[in-house]
Amino acid sequence: MNKLLLNSTVALAILASPAAAAELTVITAGDQNMVDYINDYLAPLFEQQNPGNTVRAVGTGPGDAGSQKILERFDAQAKADAATWDTDVAIVHEKFAGPMVQAGYLEAYRDKIATGKLVTRANADNALGTDVKGYVMPMFNSQTAVAYNPALVPNPPRSYAEIAEWAKAHPGQFGYNGIKGGASGVSFVMGWVYAFSGSDAQKLMYGPFDKAEEANWDDAFAGLKEFTKSATLTPGNAGTLDLLSRGEIALGPVWVDMFYSWQADGRLPPELKLVLPAPGMPGQPMHYVIPAKAPNKELAEKFVELATSPKVQAEGIVKKFNWYPGIDADKVKAELDDATWNKLFVDITPADLAEKGKPFPLAPYNTAILEAYEAKVAN
């Protein structure tokens, strides 16, 4: 009896000890809500299920700049020929998944984890023109839309053309954050190009890339420059929400998830609403990636598996943080009551999303549009 107890204790100790030392480093781009999600929700859950291991979350900042920092970190470690890198899991914007796969930095892990087959959306296979199938797991899908204050704007504009007209009639009442302060402004600009440029929006979104398309954007940018003169420029994603909440602007593009989260926290008046203007605005997924030289690869896979399980996607992604799920929506819906699920679709219906939720343009178009904005609108 005693021997059995001793043996099993020793066996347990052997089983548990290698894992006990591990500290999983998760670095994430994005606003503070991304770091909060890991620290407040996912890490405690993971630590509880994998006793002895700890999760360390590091935020690299909002917008493309945040993902750029992660890419630079990987570049540096690849150049230094480091045997193991300092990152186990990274969460990056869609635009950066492609370059990371092309550079050979990432582990193809999707087929190794159980939740890999729950991924249904095309944007997990192809990230803005680059094949990333197998290398990424979508954490969530997010969407931008235009928030408005019904007290000031009872009948909000429902298309880009109407927004342009409205902003002209109400100088300073439309606010957006340009392209330097986070992706909601970038998304608004991309939507503007889809709506008003001479290029076929389908070609900008799905390719092929053709540099000659740039010549078709001049009118759109001239219009946007004019538009921006009568708009208020806000300092960032949060800045737009902030000005909306204080009534300093009446209309502005925001991330849907941030909007709902702020509203749930009482940082935005409950009356504010969302509209997804025609012909549509872009949204994007954030992806979980695991570097090929991650120090704790198995644990990292376990972490992503947990993060993309229907239960966590339901509890954490949808219920707590108001994102659209990254994996098959039906599997996630099954874990939630109707009221919670429908909360996601109060102002923007699934039909709206299907019709007007667009991807961002292909990476090279994306860059060209941003540079053209700097040269023709901001300067």
Partner: protein, 272 residues
């Protein structure tokens, strides 16, 4: 032996300056002309295409701020020197240095809440009935940046100027007063001409400091037009575009260089 000791003692400092300052400076100057492994002016064309407005904006904003800083510093120094109410002088002497100890980022933070459309300034003006709520506008544009710079830099220049004024020969001031000159006239015609060099040193140092401030434009006015520093940060953090960032850095160095040249010229003329 003793002859060798001198250079030997200086060498650590010299090596540090060479390695940590001159080398990176040279690298970024060279980097500004590097366009995809060849040399050319491509980065400057891009900087021109993207940021002409911001370059002009920066020069004008910083120039204007320096001018206002100078005027306020003279006013403060002048009152400290010529003021006749000892209590008022004591209070001013105690108050004016405060902003010096507040970092730029905190100044940005304070002014963001103070100058916003529904901020403290507008609320006060509305409560006093001076403006009506509908005509309230946000001051978080170029005006906010100028206010932040002037507020932060005035004490520094005033401290230097007041020191120089205090060490002037009181005899000249007394003589002018005996002949019936007003205090304003004494300040403009007697005192300021004697402290010009000090004033210029303070203003050139302020100018260069303001050229390099990133936190204030980022917090108050991160959008077009904004200051060169914000553009440099954006190009580096979002695009990793060191070429254009270096070119912009060189342009702001050139603007600061003009200020320094101006200062040297005045200084040498005085030394003659």
């Amino acid at each position: 032996m003793a002859r060798l000791l001198g250079p030997l003692l200086v060498s650590p400092a010299l090596i540090i300056i060479l390695l940590l300052f001159m080398l990176p400076l040279a690298a970024s100057v060279i980097g500004a002309f590097e366009v995809e492994a060849a040399y050319g002016l491509g980065n400057f064309t891009k900087a021109y295409d993207f940021s002409t407005q911001d370059i002009v904006f920066t020069a004008v904003i910083v120039g204007l701020s320096a001018l206002l800083t100078g005027l306020l510093a003279i006013a403060i120094g002048g009152y400290l020197t010529l003021g006749e109410n000892p209590t008022a002088v004591a209070i001013l002497r105690w108050l004016y240095r405060w902003p010096m100890f507040i970092p730029f980022i905190v100044v940005g933070q304070i002014l963001r809440t103070f100058l916003a459309k529904s901020g403290l300034l507008n609320s006060t003006l509305i409560a006093l009935g001076l403006i009506d709520p509908l005509s309230a506008t946000s001051y978080l544009d170029w005006r906010g940046v100028v206010i932040a710079f002037v507020w932060k830099q005035t004490p520094f220049v005033a401290l230097m100027v007041a020191g120089a004024m205090a060490s002037l020969d009181r005899g000249t001031i007394e003589a002018a007063r005996n002949l019936g000159a007003s205090r304003l006239r004494i300040l403009v015609e007697i005192i300021v001409p004697q402290v010009t060099t000090t004033l210029l040193v303070g203003l050139v140092l302020s100018f260069v400091t303001m050229m390099g401030v990133l936190s204030v434009p980022l917090m108050i006015n991160a959008q077009a037009p904004t200051m060169i520093t914000a553009d440099i940060a954006f190009r580096l953090s979002t695009y990793r575009d060191y070429g254009v960032a270096n070119a912009l850095g060189l342009i702001s160095l050139a603007i600061s260089g003009v200020a320094a040249w101006f200062y040297l010229r005045v200084n040498m003329r005085q030394g003659r």
